[in-house]
């Protein structure tokens, strides 16, 4: 389906995320159990599952917002080890969008976007602002550049948060339930931005229960339950022919609403 699949000899190089036998505990509580997941460049992955199944924990391991105790994780060829240099290098490649936006309330929208480019990438202010304005145009919010986050609606804030990540030109974007803190009427404006991003070929891992979005853009849908990846498939098969009972139950629960 993707360009990558036409050139199998390059496959190994095109694996941007390789998670092998990843395990994580909170004290005695085994949150992630032998997670294995390989993501190719340009692949769009949707992750779903019941509350507490470890979806957030898993994607937060990818940029080291969470540590793990066993297994290995390689992002864009960089091994995730307990070393500041490696962690910094990985974070430069990975953008993240949160459920609650997490914009910096004391900075204007423009300053929110330029903070990373100026301080992390050491870009000159003019250049950082030009890039920021470009992405604000893309998420259709350029006219709000001088406002503060508190003055924007939830949907607008989440689009700003996406633009803020994009300003760092990440190779991979992680989304953790980006629309579930939004009022229903604002969900679409955020999903539209994400769909556009997917169409441009961004590698995306997205925890969401927006099944319409999954059907439309996902290359693969992953179902997690009890800290395990229970099932993964193309969206067509995933929704039409769920293999496990657990997924059937989960789908019936979320679709009956």
């Amino acid at each position: 389906m993707t360009e990558v699949n036409n050139r199998p000899e390059q496959e190994a190089q095109d694996d941007v995320i390789v998670i092998s036998d990843l395990n994580k505990w909170y004290g005695d509580f085994h949150v992630l159990k032998d997670i294995n997941l390989t993501v190719k460049k340009g692949e769009r992955i949707v992750i779903c599952g019941p509350s507490g199944s470890g979806k957030s924990t898993m994607i937060r391991c990818i940029n080291r917002l969470e540590e793990f105790q066993r297994g290995s994780l390689v992002v864009d060829g960089i091994e995730m080890i307990d070393d500041v240099k490696n962690i910094e290098a990985i974070r430069r490649d990975v953008g993240m969008v949160f459920q609650h936006f997490n914009l910096f309330p004391h900075l204007t929208i423009l300053e929110n976007l330029t903070l990373g480019p100026i301080w992390v990438q050491k870009k000159p202010k003019d250049e950082a602002e030009a890039i920021a304005m470009k992405y604000l145009e893309r998420v259709k919010i350029a006219n709000q550049a001088s406002k503060y986050p508190g003055q924007l609606s939830g949907g607008q804030q989440q689009r700003v948060a996406i633009a803020r990540s994009l300003c760092m030109s990440p190779q991979i974007m992680l989304f953790d339930e980006p629309t579930s803190a939004l009022d229903p009427e604002m969900v679409k404006e955020v999903l539209d931005v994400m769909i556009e991003l997917a169409e441009e070929g961004m590698t995306m891992l997205c925890v969401t229960h927006e099944m319409g979005f999954a059907k439309k853009v996902a290359d693969r849908v992953i179902f997690m339950d009890g800290g395990e990846i229970v099932e993964q498939n193309t969206p067509d098969t995933f929704f039409a022919n769920p293999e496990t009972d657990r997924l059937q139950l989960f789908l019936s629960q979320i679709l009956e609403h």
């Binding site: 990975v94 997490n102 910096f104 004391h106 990540s165």
Partner: protein, 374 residues
């Protein structure tokens, strides 16, 4: 939308404020609503008005109508009212201490610089603000010392024995607040740190300087601080006091910041980490401004407390404003009990300064408030 959107965080949407309903406006309605809302309320109002009618005329009479304003010596105070001549005669001492007449411009210059530094966010060009504000603040105490002491600048040397009066209270308090605030922030960071060493040192410092009364600290400062300086160096008394006040301020500020830190949601750290900001970048660019913002009321309260505590210095023989007033009261040319005038004057001057500080802080708070349409 599917109900899987279990977390329903509603975003606060400000609406324009509306004028009060017409029925509740106007002076008569105001009186009825606020002063005569019921029998008990009306009686209270009448009692308070009666008290004012009884107390205010004699007070005004003493303060103004029968008071003496002109003259230079005790003999000019003949009436039954207050003797403001006393304050006038001692005003230079009360404000500048024993600083030589010809050098008083140096104190004035320092105070003007202080005002300029404190107001720098208002007049500095926007692009310089964040960079210069802090630098200006932190170098101010040292510039002030250079100007007042004079030796480095080739001015006449004025020993700290001659510094005094209200200007000394002002300068000591500002110098301690200015250095105590960042120091307290470092201690607060240390307390939150993962490094056991940094954490225990910070906790000890914070608890010590918060737990010991400031007076005891002053005495310890005179006895103990010299032990930390090389043998034989005579450490200036004012310098010791300044160090003690700074550490005292830092201890209190560390506690104030601790409350501020707790108000910062974890998401702010996570978003900073995801952007790749380092620990210090996150702390200084993302967390510090928000901590300052939520702590503003407590920062102000602590600053005012410190400013008022500078009057304790009279006990260790530093000629700040209150001890100058006492000197004036025991002066043989002015025997006769002008204590009321003296303490009232000091009290009012202090009150004006503290009130001014809280106005400025309210202004800053408003400026920092980015949560709704402005």
């Amino acid at each position: 939308m599917s109900s899987s959107s279990h977390h329903t965080t509603r975003v606060f949407e400000p609406k324009p404020s509306q004028p009060a309903p017409v029925t509740a406006a106007g002076p008569i309605a105001w009186l009825r609503n606020n002063l005569f809302a019921g029998p008990l309320n009306s009686i209270t109002t009448l009692v308070i008005v009666a008290f004012f009618l009884w107390a205010i005329p004699p007070l005004l009479d003493w303060l103004l109508w029968s008071a003496d304003f002109s003259g230079t010596t005790q003999q000019d105070c003949t009436s039954s009212g207050a003797c403001w001549v006393f304050i006038q005669a001692w005003s230079q001492q009360l404000f500048y201490g024993s600083f030589p007449d010809t050098e008083i411009w140096r104190i004035n210059l320092t105070l003007v610089l202080l005002a300029l530094v404190l107001s720098s966010p208002y007049w500095l060009p926007h692009h310089l603000r964040n960079r210069l504000d802090l630098a200006l603040l932190v170098i101010f105490p040292f510039v002030a010392i250079a100007i007042l002491d004079g030796r480095i600048l080739g001015l006449e040397y004025v020993s700290t024995d001659f510094w005094g009066g209200f200007s000394l209270n002002l300068l000591l308090a500002s110098a301690s607040i200015i250095l105590g605030m960042p120091l307290g922030f470092l201690w607060a960071l240390g307390r939150r740190s993962n490094m056991p060493m940094a954490r225990s040192i910070s906790v000890i410092l914070i608890e010590f300087f918060r737990g010991v009364p400031v007076l005891a600290l002053f005495f310890m400062g005179s006895v103990m601080l010299p032990l930390f300086f090389p043998e034989g160096t005579n450490v200036d008394k004012l310098l010791r006091v300044w160090i003690v006040l700074t550490l005292f301020m830092a201890g209190y500020m560390a506690e104030v910041y601790r409350g501020g830190f707790q108000a910062i949601p974890n998401g702010q750290y996570e978003a900073s980490a995801a952007l790749g900001l380092s620990y210090w970048q996150t702390t200084l660019l993302v967390i510090l401004p928000q901590v300052i913002k939520v702590s503003m009321p407590n920062i102000l309260a602590t600053s005012i407390m410190l400013f008022k505590n500078t009057t304790f210095l009279l006990i260790i023989g530093i000629f700040e404003v209150l001890s100058t007033a006492q000197t004036a009261l025991t002066n043989s040319n002015w025997l006769g009990g002008y204590a009321t005038e003296a303490y009232l004057f000091v009290g009012v001057v202090y009150w004006i300064c503290c009130f001014g500080m809280s106005r400025v802080a309210a202004n800053i708070e408003k400026k920092l408030d980015t949560s709704h349409q402005s």
